[in-house]
C-alpha cells in the first residue's frame, strides 16, 4: 500500500517558485533603480564640484536682488530668494483659484448651452468647444495677451469711467479699499453672516423634513449674507476709505491694478479649460436616464425643481472625477504664465535659477510645490466626491 501512495509532487526548483521569483525581481528592480539613481546623483555631484558651483539650500536666505511685478505679500528686491519663491507660489495659487472659478462658470454655461433646445445657442456653444479645445493653450495665452495689449489704448488715452476706473495697456485700475479704525467689526461680520446662513439652511432643511413646509430658503440666505455686513457697515459709520487712481505721467498711480498679464493668463486658462468642462458637463447630464426626468415630471415637479433635485445631484457624481483632473490641468497649465510675462512660480523659479545657478535645488523645489498643489486639489475633490456619493441610497 505504502508503495502505491502517490509520491508527493516534486518541489519545483526554487527559481520556478513564483514567490522566490517575485522577490528576486523586486530586489533586482530596487537594485537597478538605486544603481541608476546613484549613478546620476554621483555624476551630478561630481559635475557640480568640478565646476565649483555652490550647492545646498543656503541661497534661499540670500537677498534676491530682483523685483516682481505682482506681489500679494510684502516683497521687494531686498527680500530673500525664499520669499521670492513664496511670492511666485501665491501668484500661481491666485491664478489657479480665479481660473478655476471662471472656467467652471463658463464651462457649465457652455455645457448646458450645447444641450439647449434653442438651435442657435446649441450651435454657438458647439463651435466654441470645437475651436478652443483644438488649439494649444500656450498659443491661446499668447494670442489673448497680444490681443489685449494691442487693442487696449495707451495709458495716456485710457478708457475711463468717471475719474475712478481706468483701462489701458498697463491694466485695469480701480480704487482700492483702505480700512479705517472700526473696520474690524465689519470684517468680523462677514464670517458671522456666513455661519448664520449655514445654520439657517440647516434648520430650514430639518424643518422641511419634519413638517414638509418649505421656506424661500435662497432669498433668506441671501438676505443674511448681504444684509448683516451691510448693516454693520452702515452702523459703524462706513469705516473704509477709497484710494482713487490718479493719472500719472506714465500710467495711473495708486488704487488697485489688475495687470494685463494676469488677466490674459486667467482668461486664456479659463476659456480653454471651460471647453473641456463643457464636454464633461454635457456628458454628465446626458448620462442621466430619460426615465429619471420623466418620473420626476410625473411626480409633478417643476422644470427648475427637476434640474435642481433630480438632474444635478446625479450628474455631479459623473462630473466630479473628470472635473478634478481638469482643475489639476488648469493649475499645472498656469505655469505657462511665463510666456506672457506673469510672475508665477515657474517664472520666478527660472529667474532664481539664473541668478544663483543652482538648477537642481530650484527644480526640486518647483516640482515639489506643483506636486503638493496636485495632491491638495485631488484630496479635496476626493473628499467632495465621497460626500456627494453618499447621497446615493
Amino acid at each position: 500500500m505504502a508503495q502505491s501512495a502517490p509520491r508527493p509532487p516534486a518541489r519545483p526548483p526554487f527559481w520556478n517558485d513564483p514567490l522566490v521569483r517575485s522577490i528576486i525581481y523586486q530586489v533586482l528592480a530596487i537594485g537597478l533603480v538605486c544603481a541608476v539613481g546613484w549613478y546620476l546623483i554621483h555624476n551630478t555631484i561630481t559635475n557640480l564640484q568640478r565646476l565649483g558651483v555652490s550647492t545646498g539650500f543656503g541661497f534661499l536666505d540670500r537677498p534676491s536682488g530682483f523685483d516682481i511685478s505682482q506681489v500679494l505679500i510684502d516683497y521687494n528686491s531686498t527680500y530673500s530668494f525664499g520669499r521670492a519663491f513664496l511670492v511666485g507660489l501665491l501668484n500661481t495659487a491666485l491664478v489657479a483659484v480665479c481660473g478655476i472659478v471662471l472656467a467652471t462658470i463658463i464651462g457649465f454655461l457652455v455645457g448646458i448651452g450645447r444641450l439647449s433646445r434653442n438651435w442657435l445657442i446649441a450651435r454657438l456653444c458647439t463651435t466654441y468647444v470645437e475651436i478652443l479645445r483644438n488649439i494649444p493653450i500656450l498659443l491661446q495665452l499668447i494670442f489673448v495677451y497680444t490681443l489685449l495689449v494691442s487693442v487696449l489704448p495707451a495709458p495716456r488715452e485710457s478708457l475711463a469711467i468717471g475719474e475712478t476706473v481706468f483701462l489701458n495697456t498697463s491694466g485695469l485700475f480701480v480704487p482700492r479699499v483702505i480700512p479705517l479704525a472700526g473696520a474690524g467689526l465689519f470684517f468680523l461680520s462677514i464670517p458671522i453672516a456666513v455661519v448664520l446662513a449655514w445654520l439657517f439652511a440647516r434648520w430650514a432643511r430639518i424643518r422641511r423634513e419634519l413638517t414638509g413646509q418649505s421656506l424661500p430658503r435662497n432669498w433668506i440666505t441671501l438676505l443674511i449674507l448681504v444684509g448683516l455686513p451691510l448693516l454693520t457697515f452702515l452702523a459703524t459709520g462706513r469705516p473704509v476709505e477709497l484710494e482713487y487712481t490718479t493719472i500719472g505721467r506714465f500710467r495711473p498711480q495708486g488704487g488697485f491694478a489688475l495687470q494685463p498679464e494676469f488677466v490674459a493668463l486667467v482668461v486664456g486658462l479659463s476659456i480653454y479649460t471651460a471647453s473641456y468642462i463643457a464636454e464633461i458637463v454635457r456628458s454628465g447630464i446626458l448620462a442621466i436616464g430619460k426615465g429619471q426626468i420623466e418620473a420626476a415630471s410625473a411626480l409633478g415637479l417643476e422644470r427648475s425643481q427637476i434640474l435642481r433635485l433630480v438632474v444635478v445631484p446625479q450628474a455631479l457624481r459623473v462630473i466630479v472625477p473628470p472635473l478634478t483632473s481638469q482643475y489639476l490641468n488648469l493649475t499645472k497649465n498656469s505655469s505657462l504664465g511665463v510666456a506672457v510675462g506673469y510672475p508665477d512660480l515657474f517664472s520666478v523659479a527660472g529667474t532664481i535659477n539664473n541668478q544663483t545657478g543652482q538648477a537642481v535645488e530650484v527644480i526640486a523645489i518647483t516640482m515639489a510645490v506643483y506636486l503638493l498643489f496636485s495632491l491638495i486639489t485631488s484630496a479635496f475633490m476626493n473628499w467632495y466626491n465621497a460626500r456627494i456619493a453618499l447621497v446615493e441610497r
Binding site: 565649483g52 530682483f66 528686491s77 494691442s150 498697463s170 505721467r249 500710467r251 511665463v338 527660472g350
Partner: protein, 340 residues
C-alpha cells in the same frame, strides 16, 4: 551624433551622447575639430545674428571665429548653439558648449558661484533705457512710475531694481524670457521703457519700424563688462581664448589690419611686431597654438577695430561710437597684455 536625436528618445537610452571627451576642453575641441560656441538665441544684430543663408556674424561671433582660426586656421570650424539668458550658464557648465560668447556680463558671483571664468572683456558696456520720443522723457531720473520691459534672469533685471530703489522711484517691471518678447511688448505699447545694455538698445532699436521715434536716454546705470565665458579651472582653454582676443586688440594697436598683415609680417624689423607675428621667438607654442596664429586671426577676421566697425560701428547699421571700447591709447579701455 547623427542617429542620436530620434533613436535616443525612442529607446530612451542615451545614445544621443557624443563620444566621451577625455580631459580638458582643448583636447576635446582638437579631437572633434570644431569649437562649439554658445550665442544669443534671438539674434542681436551686430553682436550675433544669422542671415538668410544661416551664416552667423557679429562681434561675439568674431571672437569664436578667432579661436577657431587660432586652433584650426579655419574661421568656419565653429558650430553655434543659440541659447537664451536662462539656459546659457548650464549649457556651459554641462559641457554642451566650449565658449559662451553671448554678451554676458562678468560679475563676481558669476565668476565664483556659477563656476565660470571670463578670460577677457570684448565689449565694455553699461545699462541704459530706451523710450518713445513722444513720451517727452529726457532723463532716466524722470521715469518714476513707468512700466519697464526687461529680460528675465539678467544682471539688467538686478540693476533695474537697484537703480529705482536708489533713486526712490517706483516702477512696474514686465519680465519676459527673451529679447524678442521684450521687444514685442515694448513695440505694442505694454511698457513705456525698455532696458538692457546700451549696445543692445542700439541693436534692438534697428528692429523697430521707425527707429527714429525712439531714443536712448543718456544715463548709463551700471557697468556691464561683456565677454566670453569658459568653464572654471580649465586654464589652457582660457589662455587660448584670451590670447586669440588679445591678438586682435594688439594688431589694432600696431596698426596691423587684415589687408597689410602679410606685408608687415614680411617686411617689419620691429622686434615687438616680429614677436607678435611669430617671426621671432616661439610665443604660439606657449599657448599651444601655431606660431603664426596672430597673423591668421588678423588676416581672416581682422583686428579688433575692423571687427568693431564692421559689426557695430560706423560700418554697420548700429553706428555705435568706440567710446569705452577704443584702445587705451585713444582713451578707451581695450588694452592687450604684451606679447612677449
Amino acid at each position: 551624433m547623427r542617429l542620436s536625436s530620434l533613436l535616443g528618445a525612442c529607446a530612451l537610452v542615451a545614445l544621443g551622447a557624443t563620444a566621451a571627451q577625455a580631459g580638458p576642453t582643448l583636447d576635446a575641441v582638437k579631437q572633434k575639430g570644431f569649437v562649439q560656441c554658445g550665442t544669443n538665441v534671438s539674434g542681436l544684430p551686430g553682436f550675433a545674428s544669422v542671415n538668410n543663408e544661416n551664416q552667423w556674424s557679429g562681434l561675439d561671433i568674431d571672437l569664436c571665429k578667432a579661436v577657431a582660426v587660432a586652433l584650426f586656421n579655419d574661421p568656419n570650424a565653429v558650430k553655434y548653439t543659440p541659447l537664451n539668458a536662462k539656459e546659457r550658464f548650464t549649457a556651459l557648465q554641462s559641457g554642451q558648449i566650449d565658449i559662451l560668447s553671448r554678451n554676458t556680463t562678468n560679475t563676481l558671483s558669476r565668476d565664483t558661484a556659477l563656476g565660470l571664468d571670463f578670460p577677457v572683456i570684448n565689449y565694455y558696456d553699461g545699462q541704459g533705457f530706451m523710450a518713445k520720443k513722444a513720451l517727452g522723457v529726457q532723463s532716466a531720473l524722470e521715469l518714476d512710475g513707468a512700466s519697464v520691459c526687461v529680460q528675465a534672469g539678467t544682471t539688467t533685471e538686478l540693476n533695474l531694481a537697484d537703480f529705482f530703489r536708489a533713486n526712490n522711484m517706483n516702477y512696474q517691471g514686465v519680465v519676459f524670457e527673451n529679447n524678442d518678447e521684450v521687444l514685442a511688448a515694448y513695440d505694442s505699447g505694454r511698457c513705456d521703457v525698455l532696458t538692457t545694455d546700451a549696445s543692445g538698445l542700439y541693436s534692438t532699436r534697428t528692429k523697430l519700424q521707425n527707429p527714429d521715434d525712439h531714443m536712448v536716454l543718456p544715463e548709463i546705470i551700471s557697468k556691464e563688462p561683456l565677454g566670453p565665458a569658459v568653464r572654471h579651472g580649465d586654464n589652457e582653454w582660457a589662455d587660448i581664448v584670451r590670447w586669440s582676443f588679445y591678438a586682435m586688440v594688439q594688431a589694432e594697436e600696431f596698426g596691423i589690419t587684415s589687408e597689410n598683415v602679410e606685408q608687415i609680417a614680411e617686411e617689419t624689423q620691429n622686434p615687438d611686431i616680429q614677436r607678435f607675428l611669430g617671426k621671432l621667438d616661439e610665443l604660439g607654442a606657449g599657448v599651444g597654438l601655431p606660431n603664426d596664429f596672430a597673423v591668421q586671426i588678423v588676416k581672416q577676421i581682422g583686428n579688433y577695430g575692423e571687427s568693431f566697425e564692421r559689426n557695430v560701428g560706423m560700418g554697420s547699421t548700429l553706428k555705435i561710437e568706440r567710446g569705452l571700447n577704443a584702445l587705451w591709447t585713444d582713451g578707451g579701455l581695450q588694452y592687450a597684455m604684451p606679447f612677449r
